[in-house]
């Protein structure tokens, strides 16, 4: 029982810190509330879609910014997609990066865009890492015979 208690505390502390540090916002909590017995892997499925989507978008952005003549409208369209999906999952820092990125697109500022792309990649891989850790903790709790605490 003790190990379950420890793992649960770790999970709660980690989730809280993710929220405080702005990695995941209210929207992520909403997703967790949508998960139930009829759809026990809902959050994991949504997050997997987000990972696939994001990695495609990052590749598309890199390609678009490497063109001889950069089509800023196309770049903006990709960032717009990324903003939509990151906000739907509650990946707040990624979403905020997208907002900044769109401003550079509007200004047709290539340097700004390239810098933003690097920062966007950084933020995305950070939140991906955090989410994978969160899921690992959940699995450990369940494997130890406990239930995952509900946050918020």
């Amino acid at each position: 029982m003790e190990i379950v208690g420890q793992l649960q505390k770790q999970f709660v502390d980690f989730s809280t810190s993710l929220n405080h540090e702005g990695f995941l916002d209210e929207q992520y909590l909403q997703l967790q509330k949508l998960q139930d017995e009829s759809n026990p892997d809902f959050v994991c499925e949504v997050v997997s879609l987000f990972f696939d989507d994001s990695e495609k978008l990052l590749n598309n952005l890199a390609t678009a910014l490497q063109q001889q003549v950069v089509d800023f409208k196309q770049v903006d369209a990709h960032v717009h997609q990324f903003k939509g999906s990151s906000s739907s999952i509650g990946a707040q820092r990624v979403k905020n990066m997208c907002v900044a990125f769109r401003n550079f697109c509007e200004e047709k500022n290539l340097d700004g865009c390239l810098r933003c792309l690097q920062q966007l990649k950084h933020e995305y891989f950070l939140v991906k890492n955090k989410l994978e850790t969160l899921f690992r903790l959940e699995r450990q709790i369940v494997e130890a015979g406990g239930t995952v605490p509900v946050i918020g």
């Binding site: 929207q27 949504v46 369209a77 906000s87 739907s88 509650g90």
Partner: protein, 128 residues
């Protein structure tokens, strides 16, 4: 719930698979019977095939046929159900254009419990 215990019906129109999944689940949690399609053209086809919905949740930017064009086309066909726009565009001319195409209201993404609750209240009020 409608009278007679029937569920309200919703159509989600969004080109992003992840967003379709989240919006469908959220609406289902509030008791909506939900269908999802990936662009405005597919939404129009459902209506042309005789489907009706109590509310359409319409994304703004989609390939093939976007939100404003689809909304205008639906209104032109006499579709008078609630059409709610969702966009990650923020306030500005694009949002204004979207609203002018015939939406009942427009919200910033992401769709959340508060927004769906508001939609449900409006539909309940319409019924009574």
């Amino acid at each position: 719930m409608k009278k007679g215990g029937q569920k309200f019906s919703a159509l989600v129109v969004d080109d992003n698979k992840m967003i379709r999944k989240v919006e469908e689940k959220l609406l289902a949690r509030f008791g909506f019977e939900t269908k999802v399609v990936e662009n405005g053209e597919k939404a129009l086809k459902l209506f042309d095939d005789g489907y009706t919905f109590d509310v359409v949740v319409m994304d703004m930017e989609m390939p093939v046929m976007n939100g404003p064009v689809a909304t205008r086309a639906l209104r032109a066909r006499g579709v008078d159900c609630m059409i709610v726009g969702v966009t990650s565009c923020g306030d500005g001319p694009e949002k204004a254009e979207f609203e002018a195409s015939g939406l009942n209201c427009c919200w910033e993404k992401p769709l959340n419990a508060e927004i769906v609750g508001t939609i449900l209240n409006k539909l309940d009020n319409k019924m009574s």
